[in-house]
C-alpha cells in the first residue's frame, strides 16, 4: 500500500509517522509542502507539529497551502486521509472535517498518556479494533478541545462518525477523563464518507513496546487490511 506524508516546514512528527508506516510495510513517500503534485497514494497522512509556526490559529495557513489543494482533491475522490494532532487541526481548517479545535480547557499544553475508546470499528481505519476497546495513547497538544455546532454533533452521532472518545482506564466517558474539554469527550472524527479521519492522539507513538505500548498498531493494520 502506498502512503504519502505531507511535510510542512514546521511539521515535527513527520519522521515518527514515516517510521511507523514503514514499520507497518507501507511504501511511504514524503511530500514537501511546496509541491503541486501528489504522488499516487492510497493513504495521505498530515502529521503533527506546527505547520507554519501556528502563531496564527493552528493550521490556518496550512489549510490554504499549495499541497493542501491536492490533498482536498484526492480526499474528494475517495483517497484515505489521516490527520493526526496538527493534521486534524489542518483538516478542520480545509473544511474536509467540520468543527474546530479550541485551546485546551486548562489553557496549558498537555503531554501524557490518556485513554480513548473505540466508538466505531466499522471503518477503513478502525476495523482491527474491537468495538468499545480502550486504548492507552499519547496526546501532545495545546489546541485539542474539539468543538462543533449542535447540528453537526447530531450528524456525528446519527451517522456514527465519532471514531474515538476520551475515557478512563475502565472505559468510562466522563468529565474527569476528558483531558482538554472536547465536546462529548470527542478525540477523533470521520467525514461522512468515512475516508477521512482526524484525531488528536498520536497512534504513531504507540507502536513500540520498549518506548510505550502497541495500541496504535491496529490503526495502521486496519488501513492495510
Amino acid at each position: 500500500m502506498k502512503s504519502s506524508v505531507i511535510v510542512f516546514p514546521g511539521s515535527n512528527c513527520d519522521r515518527d509517522i514515516a517510521n511507523a508506516l514503514e514499520k507497518m510495510q507501507f511504501k511511504n513517500q514524503m511530500v514537501w509542502h511546496k509541491e503541486t503534485n501528489l504522488p499516487k497514494s492510497d493513504l495521505i497522512v498530515i502529521p503533527g507539529g506546527f505547520s507554519y509556526g501556528d502563531y496564527l490559529r493552528s493550521g490556518a495557513i496550512a489549510g490554504k497551502s499549495l499541497i493542501i489543494e491536492e490533498v482536498i482533491r484526492a480526499a474528494n475522490s475517495g483517497c484515505l486521509v489521516l490527520g493526526i494532532c496538527n493534521g486534524f487541526q489542518i483538516l478542520t481548517e480545509t473544511g474536509l472535517l467540520k468543527g474546530t479545535l479550541l485551546r485546551n480547557k486548562h489553557l496549558k499544553f498537555i503531554n501524557k498518556d490518556i485513554n480513548i475508546k473505540v466508538i466505531n470499528n466499522q471503518t477503513r481505519f478502525t476495523s482491527k479494533y474491537k468495538l468499545n476497546q480502550v486504548l492507552k495513547i499519547n496526546i501532545a497538544h495545546n489546541e485539542g478541545n474539539y468543538f462543533t455546532n449542535s447540528t453537526h454533533l447530531d450528524e456525528l452521532k446519527n451517522e456514527n462518525l465519532i471514531a474515538f472518545k476520551y475515557c478512563d482506564e475502565k472505559g468510562n466517558i466522563n468529565n474527569q477523563s476528558n483531558p482538554n474539554g472536547a465536546i462529548e469527550n470527542i478525540a477523533g472524527i470521520f467525514n461522512s464518507k468515512k475516508n477521512i479521519l482526524g484525531m488528536m492522539p498520536h497512534p504513531e507513538r504507540m507502536i513500540d513496546k520498549l518506548i510505550s505500548n502497541t495500541d496504535g498498531v491496529n490503526l495502521f493494520s486496519s488501513i492495510l487490511n
Binding site: 516546514p9 515535527n12 507554519y52 499544553f109
Partner: protein, 726 residues
C-alpha cells in the same frame, strides 16, 4: 561622539578597562568599537573572573572528542556515533520576562548543539524559583514553564528531564538553566575555527532587529529596583524559524561545504565573527549594509550588538555559495554573503563604503582581561547542632510533611506541559533518576540527568561541589548507564565580592576532585555571575548535567518496584547525617550545619557494584538515595508502582530519624528477586560493599514494623497535592 565616563559605565566597562582598550588600539575607540569591546569583555562572554579557576577542571578522557572551548562538548558513544551536549543559563532575561527569557534560553542552547552538526534529541532544564509564597513566584513559574514548553514543543524536541526547586534565596533572581543533547556522526562534527583567506562569510536565518541589544552586558550585572526597565534587552524567540534553521543547517552539513559555523548567541554578530576569525588566527571583514535587517535605518552599532535569535554565521568553501543558497531558499530563510575572511588579524566593519570600525582581534579575544579575583575560604562549621531538644515527630508524619512539600511534590504539573515523546525514542521520562533516550534505529541509549544542591554548596562549597557530581553519577548509574561526562552551569553571585568568589573557587575545587576521581570529565559549560539584586546574592548553585551510556537497551530500568515479595537491599553505609537535611528543613525549618561528607572511594565502589548488578540483570529496580534519605527514596519507589514495603527498624544504634531521613551519601536501594539473593550477596561480599537487607516489597502497604503502616495510595495523593492546589 566623545566617549565620556558615563558612556563607558553604561557599557558595563570599568574606567581601567577603558584605559586598556585605548592602549590596545593605540587610539580612542569610537562608539561602535566601544560597544564591541563591551560585548566581548563582559563577564558573560569573556569569563574574565572564572577562567583561571575553570582551567583546573579535568576535561580529558578517552571518551572525549571535544572538551570546553567549542559551542558544545562532544563524547564518543561507540560505533560512529557521538553525543554533543551543553547546558547554559538564561537567568537574568527569565526574571525580567519569564516566557521569552526561558524560551530563548532553550533556543540558544539548541543552536549550540546543532551548530556542531548534531540533531538535537533531548532537552533538559534546571529551574530555581524563590519561596512559593513570594508574590512573584507563581507567575514566574508559570511563565518559565510555558516558555520552555512553548519552544521545545514547537521545534519538536522532547523535554525529558529536569529539576524544579524553590528557595527564598532566588526570590529576586530566579535561575533558568537549559541543556540540549544532540546526536552526530563522529566524522561529521563541525567546528567554529575559520580556515583560509578570502572565504565567503555568510549570514543565515532570521533578520536582525533591535532586540537584545546589550543582552550579554545586562547578564553581567546585578539587578536593582530599575530592572524592569531592562525588558528591551530580552530577545524574542521564534521556534518555527529555529526549526527551519535547524533543518537547513543539517541539510547543508551533509556534504563538505562548510569550513566553520557559529551561532549568533550572546553578543550576536560581534562574538560569532570574532570567535571564528580569532580561533583561525585570521581577520574578518564585514559589509554591514548587507546584513538583513528587520527594521529600517539600523546603525552598525545596533547590528553588531543585536541579539536577535535564530541566526548563524557560516564560512563556506569556495564555489559552494549557490548550493548553500538553494538549501536556505528552500527553507525560506535569509542567505546573504556579508563579508570575507582576511589575513589582517583584524575585525573590519564597513558601512556605506566607509570603514566604521577596525579592531585587532587579539584585543577582543586573547588580550581580553583576566582577573585573579580575591577569594576567601569557608571552613567547616564547628558548631554541632543539638537535635535532642527538638519536639518529637512521628516518622509517618515527617514523611508526609516532606512528600507534600513544594520541593518534593510530584512535578507532573510541569512535565505534562512538555512534549516528552516526540521523536519516539524516549524510553524513560521525567520523574525517574535519569531519562533514557534511545539512539535512533539502534539498540543503545543514553541516560540524562541534571542535579544541584544549593544548600549543601552554601554551607560547605567544596563538599557541595563534590556532592552534585556524585549525585549526578548516582542517578546515571541507577538506570543502568555508564557515566561518560558532564556539562556544568555555574550560577553564582557577584564575583567582585570575596566571599562569593570563594564559593565559586571552592565549589569548583569540589567538582574537580569528584570528576577526577570518578573519571567523569567536564566537556562543556557556562558561568553565570551577578545573580543577585541590590547586593543580595543567591546561594552558590552549580548545576551538573551528566550523560551515561547504556550499551544494550533491552528493558529500561526504572526506580518503581516491580513485584511483591522481592528483597530490598540498602547499599552503602548509613550514619544518620541530619544537618542540612530536608527532614530538619520541612519539619523544624532548620537549615543549618554541614552537608553530609563525601567519600569518593565508597562512592565509586558502590556505584560500580550497582552498575555491575544491573548489567548482570540481577536488579528489578534501583534508586539512589538523595534528599530526604532512605524513607523518601523507598516511598518514591512505592508510589507509582502501587507496591508497598515491609521493613524493619535498624538494629544499629543510630536514632530512627537519622536512619530513615539521614542524607548520607553514596547509597542506593535495589530491589532483588528472591531467587537471585544469593548471587547478589556473593558479589557484594566479594567486593566488601557495605549493605543491609532491610525487608521486602508487599502489596499496597508501606510499612515499618512497630512504627507505621500506610496505604501507598495515600502517599501518592499527598505527593500530588501541592502543585494542583498552588
Amino acid at each position: 561622539m566623545e566617549i565620556t565616563n558615563t558612556i563607558i559605565e553604561k557599557h558595563g566597562l570599568k574606567i581601567e578597562e577603558y584605559e586598556n582598550i585605548k592602549k590596545l588600539l593605540k587610539r580612542n575607540p569610537n562608539l561602535l568599537e566601544l560597544g564591541i569591546f563591551s560585548a566581548m569583555w563582559n563577564e558573560h562572554c569573556s569569563y574574565k573572573s572564572s577562567r583561571l579557576h575553570l582551567k583546573k577542571l579535568p576535561t580529558k578522557g578517552k571518551q572525549v572528542i571535544q572538551g570546553p572551548g567549542e559551542n558544545a562538548g562532544v563524547v564518543d558513544i561507540g560505533d560512529d556515533d557521538a553525543i554533543v551536549f551543553k547546558i547554559e543559563s538564561h537567568n537574568h532575561p527569565s526574571y525580567i520576562e519569564p516566557y521569552q527569557g526561558a524560551a530563548t534560553g532553550v533556543g540558544g542552547i539548541l543552536r549550540d548543539v546543532f551548530t556542531m552538526g548534531a540533531r538535537p534529541i533531548a532537552l533538559l532544564n534546571s529551574i530555581h524559583f524563590g519561596s512559593p509564597n513570594h508574590p512573584k513566584t507563581k507567575s514566574l513559574l508559570n511563565g518559565v514553564v510555558s516558555g520552555i514548553g512553548g519552544y521545545g514543543n514547537c521545534i519538536g524536541i522532547p523535554t525529558v528531564a529536569g529539576e524544579t526547586k524553590f528557595n527564598e534565596t532566588y526570590n529576586e533572581n530566579i535561575l533558568v538553566n537549559a541543556m540540549a543533547v544532540g546526536h552526530a556522526k563522529k566524522n561529521k562534527i563541525f567546528y567554529s575555527k575559520a580556515k583560509g583567506v578570502n572565504k565567503s562569510v555568510v549570514y543565515v536565518g532570521s533578520k536582525t532587529g533591535r532586540d537584545g541589544i546589550h543582552g550579554a552586558s545586562m547578564a553581567s550585572a546585578e539587578f536593582d529596583e530599575n530592572s524592569d526597565d531592562k525588558k528591551p534587552t530580552v530577545q524574542v524567540g521564534d521556534p518555527f524559524t529555529e526549526k527551519l534553521l535547524l533543518e537547513a543547517c543539517l541539510e547543508l552539513m551533509k556534504d563538505d561545504s562548510i569550513i566553520a559555523i557559529q551561532d549568533m548567541g550572546a553578543a550576536g554578530l560581534t562574538s560569532s565573527s570574532v570567535e571564528m576569525a580569532s580561533k583561525g588566527s585570521l581577520g574578518i571583514e564585514l559589509e554591514l549594509d548587507k546584513v538583513p535587517c528587520r527594521e529600517e535605518n539600523m546603525t552598525p552599532y545596533e547590528m553588531m550588538l543585536s541579539e536577535s535569535q535564530e541566526r548563524m554565521l557560516i564560512i563556506l568553501e569556495d564555489g559552494k555559495e549557490d548550493h548553500a543558497r538553494k538549501i536556505f531558499n528552500k527553507w525560506d530563510l535569509d542567505f546573504v554573503i556579508i563579508g570575507k575572511t582576511t589575513d589582517t588579524n583584524k575585525l573590519t566593519l564597513k558601512f556605506k563604503n566607509k570603514i566604521e570600525g577596525e579592531i585587532p582581534l587579539e584585543a577582543l579575544a586573547s588580550k581580553a582581561p583576566i582577573y585573579n579575583r580575591k577569594w576567601s575560604k569557608k571552613g567547616i562549621s564547628k558548631k554541632k547542632l543539638n537535635l535532642k531538644k527538638l519536639k518529637k515527630i512521628k516518622i509517618e508524619e515527617s514523611l508526609i510533611k516532606i512528600l507534600s512539600s513544594p520541593n518534593h511534590s510530584n512535578k507532573s504539573w510541569i512535565t505534562h506541559q512538555y512534549d516528552q515523546m516526540v521523536m519516539c525514542d524516549t524510553a524513560q521520562k521525567s520523574g525517574s533518576d535519569a531519562a533514557i533516550i534511545r539512539i535512533h534505529n539502534k539498540n543503545k541509549a543514553i541516560a540524562l540527568s541534571v542535579d544541584s544542591s544549593a544548600n549543601y554548596c552554601k554551607s560547605h562549597p567544596i563538599t557541595g561541589g563534590k556532592q552534585i557530581v556524585c549525585e549526578n553519577w548516582r542517578n546515571l548509574i541507577s538506570v543502568g548507564s555508564r557515566p561518560l561526562a558532564i556539562t556544568n552551569c555555574l550560577n553564582f553571585g557577584n564575583p567582585e565580592n570575596e566571599e562569593i568568589m570563594g564559593e565559586f573557587a571552592e565549589c569548583l575545587e569540589g567538582i574537580k576532585e569528584a570528576c577526577e576521581f570518578l573519571k567523569f570529565p567536564v566537556v562543556s559549560g557556562n558561568v553565570s555571575f551577578y545573580n543577585g539584586t541590590n547586593k543580595k546574592n543567591i546561594y552558590p548553585t552549580p548545576v551538573i548535567g551528566g550523560i551515561g551510556l547504556i550499551h544494550n537497551l533491552n528493558k529500561p530500568l526504572s526506580h518503581k518496584f516491580k513485584k511483591e515479595k522481592s528483597i530490598i537491599i540498602l547499599i552503602g553505609k548509613t550514619f544518620g547525617h541530619l544537618e542540612q537535611s530536608c527532614f530538619l528543613k520541612e519539619n523544624y525549618s532548620i537549615i543549618d550545619g554541614n552537608p553530609p561528607e563525601i567519600n569518593l572511594i565508597n562512592e565509586k565502589n558502590n556505584g560500580d557494584m550497582v552498575l555491575n548488578l544491573i548489567e548482570r540483570n540481577l536488579v528489578l529496580s534501583a534508586h539512589d538515595i538523595s534528599n530526604g534519605g532512605l524513607l523518601v527514596a523507598l516511598s518514591e519507589m512505592s508510589m507509582e508502582s502501587n507496591l508497598g514495603i515491609k521493613i524493619k527498624k535498624s538494629k544499629k544504634l543510630i536514632d530512627l530519624n537519622g536512619y530513615f531521613f539521614g542524607e548520607d551519601q553514596g547509597r542506593y536501594v535495589v530491589e532483588i528477586d528472591k531467587k537471585n539473593l544469593a548471587s547478589v550477596e556473593k558479589f557484594l561480599q566479594s567486593d566488601s560493599i557495605y549493605y543491609e537487607i532491610i525487608g521486602e516489597t508487599q502489596e499496597k502497604f508501606f510499612e515499618i514494623e512497630d512504627e507505621m503502616k500506610i496505604d501507598t495510595n495515600v502517599l501518592y495523593k499527598v505527593n500530588n497535592q501541592w502543585y494542583n492546589n498552588y
